[in-house]
Point group: C2
Chain length 200, copies 2
């Protein structure tokens, strides 16, 4: 797990606790993990943990929030980049896949433990997910408007595109046949075909 | 969750415990669930549970085994059915998606708790997963051999097709916009495009 992922989290101790929580949640699940486990993994006392996070749920919320914002930023940059819709979609899928492959441990926690968030946090994260969805949908709509894509069901296809990328976090292994970049490239090509992009 | 899913599990008490375990694992995760929780949900005593299952892991293994075999059977029936490769692929994707939508609670346990299986069970389940992969790969190879599909990377595309279908279990909601059958139909069309099937 790259530390640049958590660069925005300060101070150091707070960041260490967050990465310890990611590992613990990924290995044992949110509900089976205690704040004592997390503090122990970070080489700290439970009391030191509470200086930075009041509850275990606050740790999950921070992980989920950082993870969703990073993913959303990638997709928005692709949406707003120069180039044809096909080029922007290629970038969106390539970057989103690579993120899910490189950060698969974080991504699994982010994707599979959503239901453990407190209600107000869940609501906030759902907003980020809607924005993520909208970024991809906009590229598809632009491609259809430009006559470059043929997409019978834009909403359903948007879900499928994101779903294909997100699931990389479930199956990706560092020792597998493809690098994150190679999976990103393969999937970008498959997605261009899904949207009926001529020549793909 | 349809009870026909577990029809092969007898007697009744063993089946009731299995469906209780699926619900508990899906809600709280495998590691946070105790055999006492499962027995309680099934309206039975922990002692009664041990008549049918020696350990919590045995319950997970049974769930995983039944789930994987049902999914594999669907795909093998599609692979062996009459029709063109496009028709067989349409059936494979449609049935596999519908299974993951209709049985999304079971499918999540089956897909996300693999690492909690004991080693010998994990090995056995991996064999079923390889067979699942092979069933879809065969259809793609048949389509390429018949000149109906254009697939630059058959192994990578097989992973992508299965991945797209499996992830339905993560996001599908009964109160969503589409029925399981509609998602299956949409995804079969997208997959035909992914394999470069002319006319799709």
């Amino acid at each position: 797990m790259g530390t640049e992922e958590w660069a925005e989290v300060t101070p150091d101790a707070a960041r260490r606790l967050l990465t310890a929580a990611v590992r613990a949640f990924a290995e044992r699940g949110y509900h089976a993990t205690t704040t004592r486990d997390i503090a122990g993994r970070a080489g700290m006392s439970p009391a030191a943990l509470y200086i930075h996070y009041r509850t275990k749920e606050e740790l999950l919320y921070r992980i989920s929030s950082v993870g969703h914002r990073l993913a959303l930023d990638l997709l928005r940059r692709a949406r707003d980049s120069a180039g044809t819709p096909a080029q922007r979609l290629t970038r969106a899928v390539g970057d989103f896949v690579r993120w899910h492959a490189e950060h698969h441990t974080t991504a699994r926690v982010v994707q599979y433990e959503l239901s453990a968030l407190a209600e107000e946090h869940h609501t906030e994260i759902l907003e980020l997910r809607r924005a993520t969805d909208a970024a991809v949908r906009t590229i598809l709509e632009d491609g259809v408007a430009a006559g470059q894509f043929t997409v019978p069901d834009i909403r359903g296809t948007t879900v499928a595109v994101l779903s294909l990328c997100v699931d990389v976090a479930r199956w990706f292994r560092e020792d597998g046949r493809h690098t994150p970049g190679e999976v990103g490239e393969l999937y970008a090509g498959l997605v261009l075909r899904m949207v009926g992009c001529a020549g793909a």
